[in-house]
């Protein structure tokens, strides 16, 4: 395959502007993904990670102002007319959500929903589409797939529904799969099954995955690269190894040290003081500065330097830019 990115995002900005609110939800987000690659956007609630995904999918409400550039397979898709966008959704790019019960249609069977997508996008007849649906259910390892094809969403367990939604998303072999916290609502034993399934399907289908989560553990299991988002901005990105082993940004460091893992019994957790900022009233400069223990004057100035290491790892931090502080 060529080395060209299947998805490239440059300076994506999303702003929600209504009568008395003005919320810059995503600021200057840039990233690109190659075939078969997984990028995790890691962040806490309100950090803008889901909004970024929805902007890619064209799912934001009309009052959202979206600027920047998004290329999918070399074609610019931001600003495409609704009909062209609808053709892409479920075709070249598709999405899975945290709540399959909310994402699936309760009055159609799983089979009908998957077949519908295939008919819409590829214009094949229903019987062929239904047969493809059966294959897909088998590929996502739903036991007794032929019977499940005729099930309604409420007749399935949570893990099964999540598999069905993945089958639906993969129906037209998308080049990019957007996954918005798909394992958050699941039990651990089911979560790991879904993560392994996604990894395996990625090998078979070769799609690129943008995986959004707040869970460092899930990120470590699935991603090639991780981008950490805070207050609507990427503060650090790198390979998952770089981010988990040697985080550079104080926020990433704090997030990792406050994530409880085995063998921490009896120690006090190192926490990040305070709470995430209100996006409508962001401080100038680094948004993390009010909670950061290394804050200096330079952090409050508007242009925070971005450091890009040889490996391509990025950090947006005054301290990283000037190692004198360390």
């Amino acid at each position: 395959m060529s080395d060209d990115p299947v998805l490239r995002v440059e300076d994506l900005n999303v702003r929600f502007r209504r009568r008395n609110v003005d919320v810059p939800a995503v600021n200057d987000a840039s990233f690109s993904l190659r075939r078969g690659e997984t990028l995790t956007i890691l962040g806490e609630s309100g950090s803008g990670k889901s909004v970024s995904l929805k902007a890619l999918m064209g799912l934001l409400p009309s009052y959202a102002e979206i600027t920047g550039k998004i290329w999918l397979n070399g074609t610019e898709i931001l600003g495409l007319p609704a009909a062209a966008l609808a053709k892409l959704r479920g075709g070249a790019v598709s999405m899975i959500f945290q709540e399959p019960m909310a994402a699936l249609d309760p009055v159609y069977t799983i089979g009908e929903q998957i077949a519908e997508t295939i008919v819409q996008h590829e214009g094949v007849d229903r019987r062929t589409a239904m047969k493809r649906a059966l294959d897909l259910l088998e590929q996502v390892k739903i036991p007794s797939a032929a019977r499940r094809l005729k099930n309604y969403p409420h007749e399935m367990s949570g893990g099964m529904r999540q598999r069905a939604m993945i089958a639906l998303a993969l129906a037209c072999s998308p080049s990019v799969l957007l996954a918005d916290e798909p394992t958050t609502a699941l039990d651990v034993t089911v979560q790991i099954q879904i993560l392994l399934l996604l990894r395996q399907l990625q090998e078979e289908f070769g799609m690129a995955i943008v995986f959004v989560t707040h869970d460092v553990g899930a990120a470590a299991e699935i991603s090639d690269r991780i981008a950490v988002m805070y207050a609507g901005r990427f503060v650090e990105s790198g390979t998952s190894r770089e981010i988990i082993r040697s985080p550079q940004h104080p926020y990433t460091q704090g997030l990792l040290s406050s994530t409880v893992h085995g063998g921490m019994r009896g120690t006090k957790l190192v926490t990040i003081p305070g709470t995430p900022p209100n996006l409508a009233e962001l401080p100038p400069g680094c948004a993390f500065a009010p909670r950061c223990r290394y804050t200096t004057e330079a952090c409050r100035r508007p242009d925070i330097p971005v450091t890009i290491a040889e490996s391509g790892a990025m950090a947006r931090c005054v301290r990283v830019a000037e190692p004198v502080f360390a």
């Binding site: 036991p143 089911v190 460092v216 470590a220 994530t259 995430p276």
Partner: protein
């Protein structure tokens, strides 16, 4: 720990008497349907659950959704009535003529829920919410509000800033701090934390966990810590109880359970934990499928349908909680496992975290 316990005037049976003794707790929910609205099935939410909580310890309860951990908590608080079983609080049977009433029990046992917003009255200020229970239990208005303010300070919220605020004016983490303060308002001895940090962001979760640790020491508390998060339970608990489909499958000291789990389910559960190491990713599914439907649980051992070791005996009768078939047995803090098969229990030893 024992020194302060002996000084606590509320302590009745001495440090050796368990704070809570639960015996044969059972709750079945009927499912009605059909033409005459008859009971067509039952959900065996909690089925014959027995355990002890010692004074000053934290007992963690882990398990997947539907395993009965939250129902157990609600039964203990008498937010619903058990079908059978007894709860003895520091030697006094709850709801028994010779014991203590449910009200008296609730003065000593309080609960913090997962949803910080729905557990607060949206029309009460923080101070009102916290002062409510003490006032109901007979404390004067002034004293109750003084206590509310001091508790707000104890949980890290400046009373001047937060006492008059309403729930919607606070963040999730702040609201959960208020819920903790409210739970402490009656000076309870046992606090049940039912997924109390599950809805919080990681950075806030860590703050609240630290707070819980500090408060436990300061107020001489005993915790029942319920969570689906295995790492958080390991961090918080002295002893752990693992539940599966309404039954206890394994219980013991936290190191024993986490380092040498004996039950095939416990091992699979821990193996499902993300590794947090990009170089040692999980490669095999520890378990397949979802937990079975609690409406028609499998006969005998409820885990047998997902267990790699299952034999005929597992379908015939339910295994009782007993000492592992090999290994050390410590009288004071026993490791108990509900599994028929020595081979399945021995295989556990191979798992290291």
């Amino acid at each position: 720990m024992s020194e302060t316990l002996e000084l606590d005037p509320r302590d009745r049976g001495g440090p050796a008497q368990p704070m809570l003794r639960v015996d044969g707790l059972k709750k079945y929910f009927p499912i009605r349907g059909g033409l005459l609205n008859r009971t067509v099935a039952t959900v065996q939410a909690v089925d014959d659950v027995s355990f002890l909580v010692h004074k000053g310890e934290t007992l963690g309860i882990v398990g997947e959704s539907g395993c009965g951990k939250s129902t157990t908590a609600r039964l203990l608080m008498r937010l619903m009535d058990p079908d059978s079983g007894s709860v003895v609080f520091d030697g006094d049977a709850v709801g028994d003529l010779r014991g203590i009433t449910v009200n008296e029990m609730r003065r000593q046992m309080q609960m913090v829920f997962q949803d910080s917003y729905s557990s607060l009255n949206p029309r009460m200020t923080m101070a009102e919410s916290i002062a409510y229970a003490p006032r109901m239990h007979g404390l004067g208005r002034k004293e109750a509000y003084d206590r509310a303010e001091s508790l707000l300070a104890q949980v890290g919220l400046n009373p001047r800033q937060y006492a008059r605020r309403y729930p919607h004016e606070l963040s999730g983490g702040q609201r959960q701090r208020v819920n903790i303060a409210r739970a402490l308002a009656l000076e309870p001895r046992l606090v049940i934390l039912d997924e109390a940090v599950a809805a919080l962001d990681k950075s806030v979760e860590a703050q609240v966990l630290n707070l819980l640790g500090d408060l436990k020491e300061k107020f001489n508390l005993t915790y029942l810590f319920i969570s689906h998060d295995l790492n958080v339970v390991e961090y918080m608990s002295d002893r752990v109880m693992v539940m599966y489909l309404g039954r206890v499958v394994e219980t013991g000291p936290v190191e024993q359970i986490y380092r040498h789990p004996r039950h095939p389910y416990t091992r699979a559960l821990f193996a499902s934990k993300p590794t947090l190491d990009p170089d040692r990713r999980t490669t095999e599914m520890p378990l397949t499928g979802d937990p079975p439907n609690p409406i028609n649980p499998p006969s005998g051992c409820r885990f047998r349908t997902r267990c790699a070791f299952a034999e005929a005996v597992c379908a015939e009768k339910a295994p009782a909680l007993a000492a592992p078939l090999h290994g050390d047995y410590d009288e004071s803090s026993p490791h108990l496992v509900a599994c028929h098969l020595p081979a399945a229990q021995r295989a556990m030893g191979a798992h290291h975290v």
